[in-house]
Symmetry: C2
Subunit: 454 residues, 2 copies
């Protein structure tokens, strides 16, 4: 049995897949917070290059990947598909387990899959600088690398607590040539407002987004980039699942279940959407399971409603499962999963019963991560451990029910830069988290106009 | 042009290459420090399993790789060969540059190539525990992973300054199930002696080796493992160069120069020895360049003589280029290159003019590392930057001389766990190092009996 399945560079997909084309219920439009009317391209133009805006609203099933993007993808793509032989042996259940490994990328996660095309389209339209936010640092590192490839300056607003506690990611961004600022900063009105209220604020992803957007909006040569949530970002990630399809074909296999962590949704969309296409178009019945942390349970406990994507309320209103844009997730180590909302596309699919959601506690996830490291030789990022924990649950269920199944999951990144999380786990410093009703729902916006109309 | 060249798992080499078979002057024997007579298998038996002792003294050209070892190698092998398209474009010199990337392994470096067979042979002979030393942590991580695969307990003595300053590596070892002790420790006589002299000792690789050896020597079910220097360790690494040979054949190429960093010698041997075979057996003329840090210049400024491999003098006397077993290298960030001697095989080859050596300052190396990260998207380990700096020198030389050349180097590991080194570089905290004569030669043993006889 082959442990790893590679594709040649010539077999790399030439198009991204846009699931909007095949959704039975199309996503509701983003609304302008002032007018409550659908936003148009002109509303988004200060922040994004026109080509990305077109992709954001496109209903075309496939979008061509530019040659210059494919050329840079070749640094790490096609990424390997692994058969989890070590984990299968350990679990002793009637399952075949495959994982797509995105940790081979320059930043060690799936994020460069969208960072590279985003930087490319900005370069094409003459943009000189891109601003963005980053939490744990995965997205900021990916965009720093991508901007470097196209000679674009990159300013990253990094959530202050990560800036202070996870210096390695900051240095990686510097190595790829980016400027990194602790957020909230004094560089923006949004940052100054927060600091006036709380000079010791440790920041949040929502605040950092506000700062990056504010800087981009002020300068015609500066644009903004987002690492998840938006339709075009999710679409760029579908190269993952499309490669996995081809690799599983080589293995003579097809998944019964596809599993991925969900923070904003791009990781999950990347591997799951190309397989959901088989459901939507060819009557297949692949289960797609999005795994979120129990400490930020927007899919399983949030409300489907219009809400802002950031804290300051600069973004359009998005129709999504949300815990409220002022929701403060508990401090858990899977920084990439600590976002208050889920992407519009994933939210609509969940609402329509086309995907499943599962919330898991972090102690179960870290235990799964250590098991995986020992069995497979790869230490997973804390985000990735959420998928692994669900894989183990599926395997145990298969054993209990006596129903064999083939599982595919997105091993979205390695944990080399997250070892402090494992140290805290070993030292017994991590806890599970149970919310009170007030904590969970106290932040939901109370504005009626934010509700989608029937 | 293909960016990456992969081999199928079925194309993985089935034998290691033992250069001893082809050396014109065979290496001098290790001597017992008491009797000054060549050591026999019985002298080594307390520390190593018999199969490794046989390999250590073997003159067979090829040694079969056991199936169970190849099975674990498949987690990351065959490793990719990259064409450095980004770096080539930047350097604009008449060179083709290829690099073999060993950062895809479980520990992120080439070290598991020997850790896995060492653990395997120990398991075969019923060993329950393996002790070892580690400096920056690469070797300890590799052995932790390997022991985990075969159910062997692993005790790692980690140089105290790294234990304190580089906690990530320690946690990786814990994740793979190993016990890690700061060295010097109170667990051994060697450690207690050092602490009695200097309670604040920050340790050294030589001291940690002494501690690990002492623990292994006391217990019949415990053996010791070394991550470099010894003949069998170098041989295990030759899978790197053998794969590169096949991959370059696919590319229709053959190197004029092979470059690798040299700490103990296994990294360099791994990629260079299979190409030196073409010189020794087929009249080829491949240049092999070993790059050492200017702060630990045993190849370029050391003496060829018998010396101990460790600080306490527990090892046999080895005929090698050395700066003296009490030499304290300056604190540089390439921890894997801070060893006082070079392996017997590399030393003999250098003495016979069959390989070249080059000492480089760390500022030039880090500059090269940042250049490489931006051009190729992989942040290199500080050790690997030494090879990259030399590659850039070769490219500039080729341009100056108008003589095209094909360069292959060992990109022996990624720098994800070494970002503090880059931070210190960016912050201007790193310096070059010039030695006084006294500093360089003040530590050479003065015992005549340590000299090799003519």
């Amino acid at each position: 049995m082959t442990k790893k399945i590679f594709l040649n560079e010539s077999e790399m997909p030439r198009q991204w897949y846009n699931i909007v084309a095949d959704m039975p219920n199309k996503p509701l439009p983003p609304l302008h917070p002032g007018t409550k009317q659908p936003v148009g391209p002109e509303d988004l133009a200060p922040l994004f290059p026109m080509e990305l805006i077109k992709q954001e609203v496109s209903a075309d099933r496939y979008v061509d990947i530019p040659d210059q993007v494919r050329d840079i993808y070749r640094i790490w793509r096609p990424s390997p598909l692994f058969r989890a032989t070590g984990l299968e042996k350990l679990l002793d259940a009637p399952v075949k387990i495959y994982y797509k490994y995105e940790g081979v990328s320059p930043s060690g996660s799936h994020k460069p899959n969208t960072a590279v095309p985003q930087a490319y389209y900005n370069m094409q339209e003459g943009v000189k600088k891109i601003t963005t936010e980053t939490g744990a640092g995965q997205w900021g590192t990916a965009l720093s690398f991508a901007c470097q490839q196209f000679g674009i300056e990159c300013d990253v607003y990094m959530v202050k607590i990560s800036y202070d506690q996870k210096p390695y990611r900051k240095i990686m961004m510097n190595t790829f040539g980016a400027n990194v600022y602790a957020s909230p900063s004094n560089r923006t009105q949004a940052g100054r407002n927060i600091l006036a209220q709380d000079p010791n604020s440790t920041g949040s992803l929502g605040i950092a987004i506000s700062e990056a957007i504010e800087m981009a909006a002020q300068d015609p040569h500066t644009k903004y980039a987002l690492g998840s949530v938006l339709n075009h970002v999710l679409m760029h990630q579908t190269i993952i699942g499309q490669e996995a399809e081809k690799q599983l074909e080589i293995a003579g296999d097809f998944p019964d279940v596809v599993i991925a962590p969900l923070g904003g949704g791009s990781n999950f969309a990347g591997i799951a959407f190309p397989f959901l296409r088989h459901n939507l178009m060819h009557g297949k019945n692949v289960r797609a399971v999005a795994v979120e942390p129990a400490s930020c349970p927007k899919l399983t406990k949030g409300k489907f409603m219009y809400d802002f994507g950031d804290t300051a309320g600069y973004t359009p209103l998005l129709p999504m499962y949300t815990l409220g844009h002022n929701f403060r997730p508990a401090a858990i180590h899977a920084g990439g999963l600590r976002y208050h909302g889920a992407s519009v596309l994933c939210s609509q699919l969940l609402k329509d019963g086309l995907i499943e959601a599962q919330a898991l506690q972090q102690l179960e996830c870290f235990e799964a991560g250590v098991t995986f490291a020992k069995a497979e030789g790869i230490i997973p990022a804390p985000e990735a451990t959420h998928a692994i924990a669900q894989v183990i649950r599926e395997a145990n269920m298969a054993k209990l029910e006596g129903k064999p199944r083939t599982i595919l999951f997105n091993m979205c990144g390695h944990g080399f830069v997250d070892m402090q999380a494992y140290a805290d786990y070993f030292d017994g410093k991590l806890n599970n988290h149970e919310f009170t009703e007030e904590e969970l729902f106290g932040n939901l916006p109370e504005i009626d106009a934010l509700q989608p109309t029937a």
